[in-house]
Symmetry: C5
Subunit: 308 residues, 5 copies
Amino acid sequence: MIVYEPGDWWKALWHFHKSKTLWVLLGRVALVGLYVAAVAVAQLHYFQFEFEVEREYFSFLGILLSLLLVFRTNTAYDRYYEGRRQWGSLISACRNLAAILGAALPAEAAGHRVFYARMLSNFALALEGHLRENVEYDKLEQVEGVTPEALRDADHLPTKLATLLQASYERLHDAGELQPVHLLQLQPYHGTLLDAASACERIRSTPIPFSYSFFIKGFITVFILMLPFVLLDTYGYFTIPIVLIGAYALLGLELIGEEIENPFRKQSNDLPLTQLANRIRVSVHEALGVDLPGYKKALADLPYTIVH
Amino acid sequence: MIVYEPGDWWKALWHFHKSKTLWVLLGRVALVGLYVAAVAVAQLHYFQFEFEVEREYFSFLGILLSLLLVFRTNTAYDRYYEGRRQWGSLISACRNLAAILGAALPAEAAGHRVFYARMLSNFALALEGHLRENVEYDKLEQVEGVTPEALRDADHLPTKLATLLQASYERLHDAGELQPVHLLQLQPYHGTLLDAASACERIRSTPIPFSYSFFIKGFITVFILMLPFVLLDTYGYFTIPIVLIGAYALLGLELIGEEIENPFRKQSNDLPLTQLANRIRVSVHEALGVDLPGYKKALADLPYTIVH
Amino acid sequence: MIVYEPGDWWKALWHFHKSKTLWVLLGRVALVGLYVAAVAVAQLHYFQFEFEVEREYFSFLGILLSLLLVFRTNTAYDRYYEGRRQWGSLISACRNLAAILGAALPAEAAGHRVFYARMLSNFALALEGHLRENVEYDKLEQVEGVTPEALRDADHLPTKLATLLQASYERLHDAGELQPVHLLQLQPYHGTLLDAASACERIRSTPIPFSYSFFIKGFITVFILMLPFVLLDTYGYFTIPIVLIGAYALLGLELIGEEIENPFRKQSNDLPLTQLANRIRVSVHEALGVDLPGYKKALADLPYTIVH
Amino acid sequence: MIVYEPGDWWKALWHFHKSKTLWVLLGRVALVGLYVAAVAVAQLHYFQFEFEVEREYFSFLGILLSLLLVFRTNTAYDRYYEGRRQWGSLISACRNLAAILGAALPAEAAGHRVFYARMLSNFALALEGHLRENVEYDKLEQVEGVTPEALRDADHLPTKLATLLQASYERLHDAGELQPVHLLQLQPYHGTLLDAASACERIRSTPIPFSYSFFIKGFITVFILMLPFVLLDTYGYFTIPIVLIGAYALLGLELIGEEIENPFRKQSNDLPLTQLANRIRVSVHEALGVDLPGYKKALADLPYTIVH
Amino acid sequence: MIVYEPGDWWKALWHFHKSKTLWVLLGRVALVGLYVAAVAVAQLHYFQFEFEVEREYFSFLGILLSLLLVFRTNTAYDRYYEGRRQWGSLISACRNLAAILGAALPAEAAGHRVFYARMLSNFALALEGHLRENVEYDKLEQVEGVTPEALRDADHLPTKLATLLQASYERLHDAGELQPVHLLQLQPYHGTLLDAASACERIRSTPIPFSYSFFIKGFITVFILMLPFVLLDTYGYFTIPIVLIGAYALLGLELIGEEIENPFRKQSNDLPLTQLANRIRVSVHEALGVDLPGYKKALADLPYTIVH
């Protein structure tokens, strides 16, 4: 994710080169440029075929395409933002769990406190890795009784961790260290851990339906292929830059839609999951009164302009 | 459901032939082509009737139709996505139920664990079959005390299974194996099973109102029938490909709307319910510590490009 | 509600005559036709007044009107669909209530089981009647201790039934047949009964604000009155069919908006409340283990194309 | 609120004079008429300045303005409808509270029943007054132990009443008349009272941001000031009625947006809060088994066409 | 936040100078003016290059841009309004917490009452400071046992305060002053404190994705740079005011989007967080029966037209 100041146009320009999406867009627009140039040369120098063009119709097709693309981009943005919302509710749930456990456990139960501070941190870190299909088991906090090997064998890592947490509450309850009221206080927040994980998996694994996506791509392709023929007789060689502007707009919207539809990758427009997981780690350690080394705290507030 | 990589236009092209919707669309566009060709030949060769055409008005009608279709497609997409969301919350609820039961039941209560792992798996498999009006009773997990025959006679299979689960919690509670606090922990997630089932039935059984659907179909038909007359005097035989592009856009949107409005069938744009049910089976077995044969685990992550 | 297959255009055509809305629409379009014909004859034969027409402006007005109507129709559809959603959550709540009571009550408490199966069925049937302002007291299930007369006198029937149910839980609790944990399990689903009732009443009693509705009607009227003058000089008598197409689109959208805004009537585009209430009856009887006569079960899945 | 039948255009016309908004709109449109007439006379008789006009550009500006206004109106409608939804959930919460208290309190505790019937009624009446900045303390029901004077001094009346209710549950709990399970049943519905109050205050006190509102007003003003110059050379004196139609559309949308954005006043497009509060009074009295005089019941279903 | 009366156009004009956003907009529009003037002089006096211009195409681009901007502004408005909604639920949660504690704590426990009144007030004040990155520790209420120094060292101030509150409930529970039922009543509202804090942080820290924002800025820039060339041959020097109107509309929408996307600053279009925090302070003191000095009460209802 590129951290930027929305109001500053010049800095935005300066960050431009960091966005891979924008480079891909430039590449596609360049391809269109080659095509338009070829059509223009062929038509103006060789064929000189006479078109009569009725532009209202193309304007109507263009507006239909615009509507489709704007809605499609908005849908993609909703998914991007829902991804962030789910991580927001994960952050809140972890803080609430830590606060309840911090209050319910006796001050001297340092071992339990460390256990929960690390397990909750690990849940966030593991979910980040799970969504990015690259769990870094070595970076997880070491937790007594939960070996990295046991986690590696899990069919579904977040479920495994949530199950271990749930079992621990029950053990403390059986041992009389947590009372029934605490279990009831904990449950809704604990349930949110798996709710957020399922929701993020849903966002990652459910693109817009194939035929819808194909339909839009086909429509854009046909429309751009047609454009030079519609404009050539009026503009001559000026057709080239003019079509490029349209191609920039249409291809750009499509590309941004694709890009932000899955917000869990590590590209420049994706959500900073690593940073969010680190923020959860800082907060749960604080709420449980467990120390966290300064260099780990620092990961929660990176000064870089690109965060993951 | 076709699994695809949104950013890759060439592969999308390659998957094209797998999408039944797109073939139906091609068929309808071809029909329009025949009609336009007939009108063009008749007009240009025989009648040579002079039209004066005012295109602003058709442009306005076209934009109104575009707005209608884009909104209608968006509504259909919302239903598609709500279907997925409901299954997402079903997945999460099943995992939470399994985690709570896994923690609350004593480790040695292997029979109970197997019972819940299978019953929860069956709920998902049965809901999938129920929504597709084809429950495969033989593929359900065998559960002690619940014969397939009893399920076959149920008026409403998901309700039946949820009722059996609810009764089992109560039995364990009466036997002292679950405490009141566990019932309270379980209830919200258990309730979600039937909530998701009702919501999916709602999506399946409530299309957009008949007169709305008819109105849109009528509008598209009239608009496309009119189009060649509006364009013939400018384009001559070029009218044919030009109208086809418009027909592709309008009929395509309508068709995709119809297709994704009911996302529970087994076509290429529908949700992979079977796979999702298999994921639930893997997760609940893991959370309850019950073994699941490898070939059943494999069903949760099929490498095929089309999954059901 | 007309049950139809969205993908089938020919059957849709066949169902056409059953939709009262579409007949009303035809009537209004015919009225517009008379008006346009009169204007056309007057202008072309008698006045022959010369207009110079600037169509961009009318195109802009037409697009503004299109936007308004499409948004208005979407709002109306949201209400239609929210009505269905509320009934979906009512169905789910009734099933959950029946499942909890079925599990908590001892198997031999046949009287209580019958009481709840009938009371929950009656709640759904009574809500249907209440929303349609025509409660059929005779069709309610007979419940011990609740005479139809007592229900007839109720100020607000759904509240009355929910109150009776709530009192019955409490009585069983006092008698030791339900434990506190059961009351807590039941409460959220029981509360949903009145939530759904209030939400449906809200949808029924809150149309879009009067001045908004009047504003749209006024705008459409003025726009259609103006249309022939804008088109006459280009099209002559062809103006008549061309205006009719526009009138079909604009009046149709308005009409469909009005129609589906209140989805609780018994017209062909309204929700099949009777059928949904019958489905609730089947499910709660099954979940409580109470027999229901076959002819009542059959009402839940009518094979007709029009269901209420 | 004007109660009307959406399908009836003639009655709508008849109700027209009752809507203050529509009169204000007519006034503004008349002002625009004076301006256009002045411009037309000046230009056609005195200056005869030659414009060359390019209308595509104005059409684009007009569509941008249309989009803005339609979205703005939709946002305003969402607030109107959310206001209604909040009152709907208030109604439901009050009914549920009354049902729970009616079941939990012994039948002979007539004093408590009267207390709750009146306190819940007062909460609704007071919230209505609070939102309209005009609490009619004398019209509140008389409650033992809660003098009107104490209420007059409250910093925030709804909070005060909710606090008194909460304290009363606790008192009954301490006295053994309510059990812990009842407190847990009551709490979510009781919490909804303040949730609805806060949400309504939010709707009332948060208009769309000033610069957004100003921006739209400025855009409309400039656009309408420009319109006669764009149309004069084509239409001559016909410009006047033609601009008026556009002004009606644009100013009307803006005005309706402003009007329904705050739905808690007593104008003809506002929500009938008084009536809704009276409905709550009827329902809670019924659910608690407390008599309510007939004339108070009648206030819940006024036969007037304008209700507050 | 500027407090204004939506219906009053003249006062809105008068408030104009107070809105920094509108001044920035004027500055940008002026820059565009210089550019257009330069282009106009260069073209009309020196180059006199002949363009042939096809405006349908620019109209289509303009409509695409309009759709993008209107959707983008709406998204920004949704965030503005969600920020307000979160503070609304914070207000409601604080009032409910205070009401429950006020009812559960014995009347003579004045110390506890003061503790909660101040801690809840501080949570709101601290969250306001935290969101504006400027916590005024000195303005927080003094709470026994919680020194400003301890708060200054917190990694995350709202979590710290919520943790302290949670611990205090538990302490009172251990001391027998609160019963388990009270903990269960308190928990959902207490959890809302951190939910609202996380949601507000999400809104503040997640702008729309960089490439989307850059794409829109790039599109506007290219479009406005092109505009004079499209209009010059028709309008000559009139091009200057005409382009300015378009620039006002496009740049204005972009600017307002940026402005209201982050509603937690102290500018004239931001939410009055200070005032809302003061309202919470007044309400929780009242609900807990703790006196609050008049000058602090007054901060909740400032008579100024600009509130923070």
